[in-house]
């Protein structure tokens, strides 16, 4: 219950300010631009290629938007001094973190819902399945869940938005490119790094319309780990 209260409060903060809408519109603008230049406008392509390119573009933007939406969530509370209100509220630290994550996910879901007309355009001349689109969006939501969790964990460590955003981006890029390290390391780290590839290993399957339990488990576990870390940071702040 407390989780939903925190989520509602944060979601309202996103929707009642211009910044949230600007981020949503900017993401839609860039997605549309990429959809036209790399997808539909890039000469004759097979329907599934256009759809995969759309999910690829959207995936990149989801990660950027995830960091933008979350970098202020906990950092701003500290900056404005409102974290004291949260700490003295009946909500536990875990409820605060999950509530803020749910609010960010609400904004991500809204943004993704507004992109739905793009894959729908493929139906005009092409052949793709609704299930393929559903799986692609499941991948985008999974990616959004993990990215926003990373963003919230980064935001929990700082007092201002900028370093939180930078740290979130660094963690994300490390996870994105970490698999390159697998070429120069040995087992078991080699396998771990190769498996942890945030995009190459786990998101491309969603793009292609293939749903794997292992990919869902991966994004769920990344989300869990970073939300847990954020919770422990908040708890640590109490006893410090």
């Amino acid at each position: 219950m407390h989780t939903l209260l925190v989520a509602r409060r944060d979601l309202a903060a996103y929707l009642h300010g211009y910044a949230g809408w600007v981020i949503v519109a900017a993401v839609l603008f860039v997605t549309g631009l990429l959809f036209q230049t790399r997808g539909l406008g890039a000469g004759p392509q097979l329907s599934h290629e256009v759809l995969e390119t759309f999910f690829e573009n959207c995936g990149g933007l989801v990660m950027i938007a995830g960091i933008l939406f979350t970098m202020r969530s906990l950092a701003e509370e500290r900056q404005l001094g409102t974290d004291v209100l949260l700490q003295t509220s009946p909500a536990t630290d875990a409820q605060v973190v999950v509530g803020k994550w749910l609010a960010a996910m609400g904004m991500m879901a809204l943004t993704l819902a507004l992109t739905l007309y793009m894959p729908a355009l493929i139906f005009v001349n092409g052949k793709v399945s609704l299930a393929h689109i559903a799986v692609g969006y499941t991948g985008l939501l999974s990616l959004a869940a993990a990215t926003t969790a990373i963003g919230i964990a980064a935001s929990s460590l700082f007092r201002t938005q900028l370093p939180a955003g930078i740290l979130g981006a660094v963690v994300l890029v490390t996870l994105l490119l970490g698999w390159l390290l697998s070429d120069v390391t040995d087992a078991p780290f080699k396998d771990v790094l190769a498996y942890a590839a945030f995009w190459d290993k786990h998101f491309t399957t969603f793009m292609e319309g293939r749903l794997h339990v292992r990919d869902l488990a991966y994004y769920a576990s990344v989300t869990f780990a970073f939300l847990l870390a954020a919770t422990k940071v908040l708890e640590g702040r109490r006893w410090q």
């Binding site: 300010g17 392509q45 399945s129 299930a131 293939r210």
Partner: protein, 624 residues
């Protein structure tokens, strides 16, 4: 050299932090030591730096213990207790080093482990040592952080909380590994990308509807085959349309050895079509995953084999010897390989017809029709005469013209047709290929005449475009050399703002009038001389590059041939669920371009802005 430098820098930094920050730096020194061991064993493994890095790493870990003990000695009470707990955590974390040592070659060799037992040993301990490192390292770091935050006296509750949080976080992170391992080991996957078995196309339905003799379709599949389940509805629909002439049977190959032997079916996964003693056979794998691609184009495959079964093979002659476009042309806009394949699928033999084959004498009697595909140079007068004689006796011609190529004046005049000299262009409805002004010559049209060749196209008039990459206008001359009266029917037209680009600048000049041009014309002789001809103003409309991208152009090519040989009752689309390349016109592009890039984001921004402004205004009024 660089390895030694890296080792030295890491060791110096770790120890420096440990000495300079006695409360928070000890844990960092310990991590530095572990990192050096890892670098030595994994990154520098086998090189000169392996031993020094490992030894220095172990030493740094050992020194970090000394630093911890020293820091513990300098404080009293709860802070000392916190250091003691941190020391225990440090020892637990260092246990990871000992466990890891169990996986090294000297230990496994000493234990005599090989093969599967060695793998199991390494995998088991490899799973344990990261957990130990996390379980010791994270609480230790949190304790260090708490010690730094309470330099005078550390509250007991802070120590307890730090350890509890650290252990919870460590095991939370450690849980991620087995969960992902199990998920990867027991992975389940679903491929939901586009898949649909074709419905019977109109031309296949027409074909089975006109069967004169019974045809059996025998499916050889096991009872539980998913492929069979997908195919049976298709064949049942064909059977229903055949008026009882087509019968479908399903057999499991091992249970009908005599029938399988008679039809030479050695395994399940085959479809056999039988008419009397004649048979046609093709494979569709019994495994649905492997069969998906074949099932998407089942209708085309079935029609191809049905035609072979119920129609005699016919011959299409292709005039050669004057630089005509053809199946082996190097220029993709003149390569007619796909057209040839489409004719073969319609049960034609496609033969060259040049001087060596008697093109200057007479068209062979077995010709179903003759293709003249945009010759570069003029036909010989004797060849024109031979074609005229062929027309007189009721022959059929499929003639393609093209800008810059021979205009075939004599031959076309005989049919009462002429083609323009300059390419046509349209500034609004064209297919973008190079994204330059030249694209305006790539016409796309949905203007179809009322004729058997365009009956299918007209049915899907808003769906498919006929694409012509640089076309000339086709016009009626008013008189024919062939026996008349002939009936001329425009079958494809351009849009009204299309102009003949005489100056070749792809800009519509003041003298270049925009109007509807005929792009393709059908000519039909009188009943006593039932010749037929289709004249199309662009050979590229039948080229590989267009036929593989424009469904409308492919339908035009095949239905033109069907009409030429009197098979117009078979006209219709061949159903296919294969993925198609999305081709669209410039006009469509612009609508989507602006709508997608600007329309939706601006709408969202405007609605969001309105929502926020109204909300704030309401808040301000409430405040007053």
């Amino acid at each position: 050299m660089i390895g030694y430098v890296l080792v030295a820098i890491t060791a110096f930094a770790a120890l420096g932090l440990g000495v300079a920050l006695p409360r928070a730096g000890v844990g960092l020194a310990w991590i530095g030591g572990l990192a050096l061991v890892y670098l030595g064993q994994r990154t520098f493994g086998g090189g000169d730096t392996e031993l020094p890095a490992t030894v220095v790493g172990v030493l740094v870990v050992a020194v970090s213990f000394g630093l911890r003990v020293r820091a513990m000695g300098k404080v009293e009470g709860t802070s000392r207790a916190a250091h003691r707990t941190a020391l225990i955590c440090q020892a637990v974390g260092s246990g990871a080093l000992l466990v890891w040592a169990l996986t090294t070659a000297p230990v496994t060799d000493a234990l005599g482990l090989t093969g599967e037992s060695l793998d199991r040993w390494i995998v088991s301990w490899s799973a344990v040592f990261p957990i130990l490192a996390l379980a010791g390292g994270i609480p230790m770091l949190l304790l260090d952080q708490a010690l730094a935050a309470h330099p005078v006296a550390m509250p007991s509750v802070a120590r307890t909380q730090a350890v509890a949080s650290g252990v919870a976080l460590a095991f939370g992170i450690a849980l991620v590994f087995p969960v992902n391992y199990l998920a990867a080991q027991h992975d389940m996957d679903w491929d939901v990308s586009y898949f649909r078995v074709t419905d019977p196309g109109q031309s296949t339905l027409a074909l089975v509807g006109n069967l004169s003799e019974p045809v059996e379709i025998l499916l050889f599949y096991p009872p539980n085959s998913d492929t069979k389940e997908q195919m049976v509805p298709y064949f049942e629909e064909l059977a229903a349309a055949s008026g009882g002439k087509l019968v479908v049977q399903v057999h499991d190959q091992p249970t009908v050895p005599a029938l399988a032997k008679e039809l030479t079916v050695r395994d399940n996964g085959y479809v056999v079509l039988r008419r009397g003693d004649a048979t046609q056979k093709f494979k569709v794998d019994e495994d649905l995953k492997k069969a998906r691609r074949d099932l998407k184009k089942l209708d085309g495959t079935v029609q191809k084999h049905l035609l072979k079964l119920v129609k005699d093979k016919r011959i299409a002659y292709v005039l050669t010897g004057h630089g005509e476009a053809g199946p082996r042309d190097a220029n993709p806009f003149f390569k007619l390989g796909e057209l040839k394949q489409a004719l073969i699928a319609q049960n034609y033999d496609v033969k060259d017809y040049g001087l060596d084959e008697g093109s200057a004498e007479a068209v062979p009697d077995d010709a179903a029709f003759v293709i003249v595909a945009a010759p570069e140079t003029s036909l010989f007068p004797e060849e024109v005469k031979a074609l005229e004689a062929y027309v007189d006796r009721g022959g059929s011609l499929l003639v393609y013209a093209d800008p810059g190529r021979d205009r075939m004046t004599d031959l076309l005049a005989y049919l009462g047709v002429a083609v323009g000299e300059h390419p046509l262009a349209n500034a609004s409805r064209y297919v973008p290929i190079s994204n330059g002004p030249i694209d305006r010559a790539n016409l796309a049209t949905q203007r179809y005449g009322s004729h058997a060749t365009t009956a299918t196209l007209s049915r899907y008039a808003t769906r498919d475009y006929v694409v012509m990459i640089s076309a000339v206008a086709v016009s009626e001359t008013g008189s024919t050399g062939a026996p008349g009266p002939a009936k001329h029917t425009p079958i494809i037209r351009s849009y009204e703002d299309t102009w003949e680009d005489a100056d070749g600048d792809f800009q519509r000049g003041p003298d270049e009038e925009g109007k509807v041009h005929v792009l393709a014309m059908a000519v039909q002789g009188p009943d006593e001389h039932p010749y037929r001809a289709v004249v199309i103003g662009d050979v590229s409309s039948a080229s590989d590059i267009v036929l593989t991208r424009s469904k409308g152009s492919a339908i035009l090519a095949v239905d033109s041939v069907r009409w030429l040989v009197g098979d117009e009752d078979l006209a219709g689309e061949i159903s296919s669920e294969e993925d198609v390349r999305i081709e669209h016109t410039r006009e469509g592009d612009q609508l989507w371009f602006y709508g997608t890039i600007f329309g939706i984001p601006v709408l969202v921004l405007a609605l969001g802005g309105l929502f926020v402004t109204r909300r704030r205004r309401a808040g301000a009024e409430e405040g007053r």
